[in-house]
Symmetry: C2
Subunit: 183 residues, 2 copies
DNA sequence: CAGTGATTTCAGAAATTTCTGAAATGTAAG
DNA sequence: CTTACATTTCAGAAATTTCTGAAATCACTG
């Protein structure tokens, strides 16, 4: 498979960005290629489109699968595995956020709780700082859990509303009547 | 400087997590150490607390400064530079989000716009996919820009309210009267 | 259940990133 | 201007990550 120059540029960009995210260049490129391909691709096709080794493709796909970022498809009369990304961009974003939370946030939250359980260590400042950090992370993950439940439509509306929502809350942090009365 | 076992564990954890984020172990450790230290620390102190080379400390601090994550302080009658993290956790989070956006999102947005400007490349699917991705990123960064403007107090309240806010929007995505009337 | 092709595994090679010590540069004080 | 630190730079060493080709495993098919 030969890439159009548009595909080429897109794929290369995601490869470079990959390192800024926590993933490697090849994984970024594979994902980008699947993302802009209208049809599912098999490992062989990816291998030659990106000019990498077959085994590298295999590892990259495995990595993407562990992130739940690609779906496996099968073509009638073809034994090979074909891969795609979900059509729904929101689904992709949800997955991405969920997985990053799992890998980047949750372990830290666990560790902080563990440290607090070890009880007073005679370092009041550090202890207070750790507690404060834990509380903040809990607040943010709690908010995230709520947002995760929302249907996409409502989420979109919420984002579009933007800061107009904040108008409902006065400076002291109390809610305006409009919000408290209803429900 | 010798670390208490609490400090030790905290610092090592952030070192390990560092690689899951885009930063390296040492940078994570330096930041963690500054974060749980009640007093500003100089490079020499950091160097021996973490058992790394003086030059490594210098590079790590430079990296943290480029992220705006540390502040430089000076102690009367001492020529050395002392470093701390802001007391306000919210300020830290805001900085972190802003910097990650700058490094991880903005370049991609620019690239996508650039690709669109290059005009029809005869690959309708890829073009549509790119446009869709650009729109989603614009929506999210737009929402972020709004949230960034809010005072911390309101932001906290908003997060605590959580999904109750979503009750204000009906399934079709239209706002409920309560929200539209008050303005 | 042998044969064929697809996929994965894995040890070492290649590439990249991180770290160090030595030298260079910067800076305040005398 | 010179001395006395403090900090930064930088080339090479060390460590880590990524990539490859060969071999192993897996799984259909006839």
């Amino acid at each position: 498979m030969t890439l159009t120059s548009l595909q080429q540029e897109f794929v290369l960009h995601f490869g470079e960005m990959g390192s800024r995210w926590g993933i490697n260049r090849t994984v970024g490129q594979i994902y980008a290629l699947l993302f802009i391909s209208s049809e599912p691709l098999n490992a062989e096709t990816i291998t030659d489109a990106l000019a990498i080794s077959r085994s590298n493709t295999s590892m990259g796909l495995k990595e993407l699968q562990s992130w739940n970022l690609v779906r496996l498809k099968h073509v009638q009369g073809d034994r090979r595995d074909y891969f795609t990304t979900p059509d729904d961009l929101w689904e992709i974003v949800r997955t991405l956020v969920a997985e990053r939370k799992k890998r980047e946030i949750d372990p830290t939250l666990t560790k902080l709780r563990e440290l607090e359980l070890q009880g007073p260590a005679g370092d009041d400042y550090a202890e207070a700082r750790i507690a404060e950090l834990r509380e903040m992370i809990e607040m943010m993950t709690g908010f995230y859990a709520e947002m995760e439940k929302l249907e996409t439509q409502r989420l979109v509306k919420l984002m579009t509303l933007g800061s107009r929502i904040a108008g409902l809350i006065d400076k002291t942090g109390a809610m305006f009547p409009a919000l408290t009365k209803r429900k």
